[in-house]
Subunit: 346 residues, 2 copies
């Protein structure tokens, strides 16, 4: 929302495709021993010796997944990496490499791509992954980022291993990214009416950061290993808790009781929900973009995680024919329905 | 250019994201022993045991890389796979898996996506690869396909291994895809003026097929192995012969003499070039999209490939300080310059 009148604008047409990729990736370092050859040939070459690998890909589209009027480009680059790594961690794997493809219209100067790549580079450093390839091309409109993430895994965890009586556990807290988005959307509307208004975003710092610069739970994979806990099933929360619970239940052929009073909420989420007059449970269930991990463990593993503030036990798994329910604070049972983002709706 | 008034149009909004991916990929089979888990979890799981892997990614954008007014969607799906596999083969690797991400606007019905996936499925069958993941999302405009291809390799060939005195070899023939595009562009203009005109495309079948449904040279990788030839360097021809020669020379730190009279051209390319009054050598050098393999071999390997109609020796490598030149039919020497597609030009 803040316009910098002095920003430099170098047109993309000043670079050939190869010159541009070289320019954007020249600072990128290779740290993973599994990367034999990164950017610069027809393909990257990797050697995982006798480890299995995981691979996942995600597409972020301007106007659908992000709005550049409040998403700084550096944050966008960072977030694009993080949402992919989150899928790698959800397999109980270690993320090792990514490829990055960007389609961008000529309305963006080279400096815009530099900002996106700066965010990508920061994420690569923090999560210790190598950027090993990609493609940069023009688009007729808008900006689109496609990232593929690769990881190595010894003991992968699928969505389909949950058993009745397993405990349902979630990391961190939920609903913050969604409420951060509500605040940003509101400020955008205010800005349209009065471009000179100075928003006070201080009460929303945590939820806005969760929206603009989410983190993937690399730490949890290490923690689970240290605690000697192997989840029976796992998924990351990108579309919202209810949608992910349904995935785990359907693929594992189990049911679930989810306890409303156990869902972890940050105080900022609760106060902002009150301000916006939105039900915080609905936000936690359907908001999405939390990038927390949702997993099931055998009850015998409960003592290992019980005292750890990273984990909340929010429900337990039942027989499939018992269905999937939210047990409310008033002790009534409501069927869980997916209401995650439906990007194809008109 | 032919409109089917009776075609079925199911809106994309009729499916949730997950339902849509399930619907589009339900027929896809897993054939590769390295695929442990394909579509359906947070990530695919692969096991190459102790083989190295190669990975490459490409982005195809409507209005930049393809024009739907003459590119049938099935062909587009097929071509999107092939251009990625070509990069895998250019590493001397065996292609094994792909992920497919598609961004598409609501103006496309589900049947359009089904056509694209039908092309992808056909390519996957013919090249014996597994489709192991992907993402399908909406875009604000247009169609975009991002594919990542994975392969396994024992003895990879890079771009940087060419030595002075090595022979420069190309597979197949060059320039056909570019001339096919010229014919299609011309027909599009004719159609705009007179939608009832019936074009006679019979004289152009080969070059149009090379544009709309190119093939990657999987067969060459097997052939080279059978002939016991390991190229010293290799690249695939996507941007044009001159641009690829420059890549090999720069990365190998060598020079090159390319002989104009040795460049393989199909008779249809020659006759169409005459019709369009374009120089066929320029087309071969700068046309691109041939997806043939360009490689260098040690002179001692020459007898092994000499009699094989798949290969044309088109030049030989020199010391870097001797530069890169086209030796014309008139025996003059012209420096080789890259004039490949520059997608960022205004």
């Amino acid at each position: 929302m803040i316009e910098d009148k002095n920003q430099q604008r170098t047109p993309l047409s000043g670079f050939g495709e190869f010159g541009l990729i070289d320019h954007l990736t020249k600072n990128f370092k290779i740290n993973q021993s599994s990367t034999i050859k990164g950017i610069g040939d027809d393909a990257a070459v990797l050697n995982f010796e006798n480890k299995k690998i995981v691979i996942t890909t995600d597409l972020l589209v301007e106007g659908v997944h992000f709005d550049l009027s409040y998403m700084p480009l550096k944050h966008l680059g960072y977030k694009a990496v993080v949402v992919n790594l989150s899928d790698v961690y959800a397999m109980n794997a270690k993320a090792t490499q990514i490829t990055v493809s960007i389609a961008v219209s000529n309305r963006f100067p080279v400096e815009a791509l530099e900002d996106i790549y700066a965010g990508i580079e920061t994420a690569a450093k923090i999560y210790d992954i190598d950027v090993i390839g990609g493609d940069t091309t023009s688009s007729t409109t808008g900006l689109l980022i496609s990232i593929t993430a690769i990881g190595e895994v010894e003991d992968e965890v699928y969505r389909n291993g949950a058993k009745p009586k397993d405990l349902l556990v979630v990391t961190g807290d939920l609903g913050a990214a969604f409420m951060g988005l509500q605040v940003l959307e509101r400020e955008k509307e205010v800005y349209k009416v009065n471009p000179n208004s100075q928003p006070d975003l201080e009460p929303y710092t945590y939820i806005i950061e969760r929206q603009l610069k989410p983190e993937a739970r690399k730490d949890i994979i290490k923690l689970l290993k240290d605690l000697d806990v192997k989840p029976t099933s796992m998924i990351d929360i990108s579309d919202g808790l209810s949608s992910e619970i349904i995935h785990l239940c359907k693929q594992s052929n189990v049911g679930c009781d989810l306890y409303e009073d156990k869902i972890p909420l940050d105080p900022q989420v609760i106060s902002t929900c009150e301000e916006f007059n939105i039900d915080s449970t609905t936000v936690a269930l359907n908001g999405g973009e939390d990038y927390e991990l949702l997993f099931t463990i055998s009850q015998s593993d409960f003592p290992k995680i019980q005292a750890n503030p990273n984990f909340s036990v929010i429900g337990y798994m039942k027989e499939a024919n018992e269905g999937m329910h939210l047990v409310t604070r008033a002790d009534s049972k409501i069927p869980i329905k997916a209401q995650g983002w439906k990007n194809f709706n008109d």
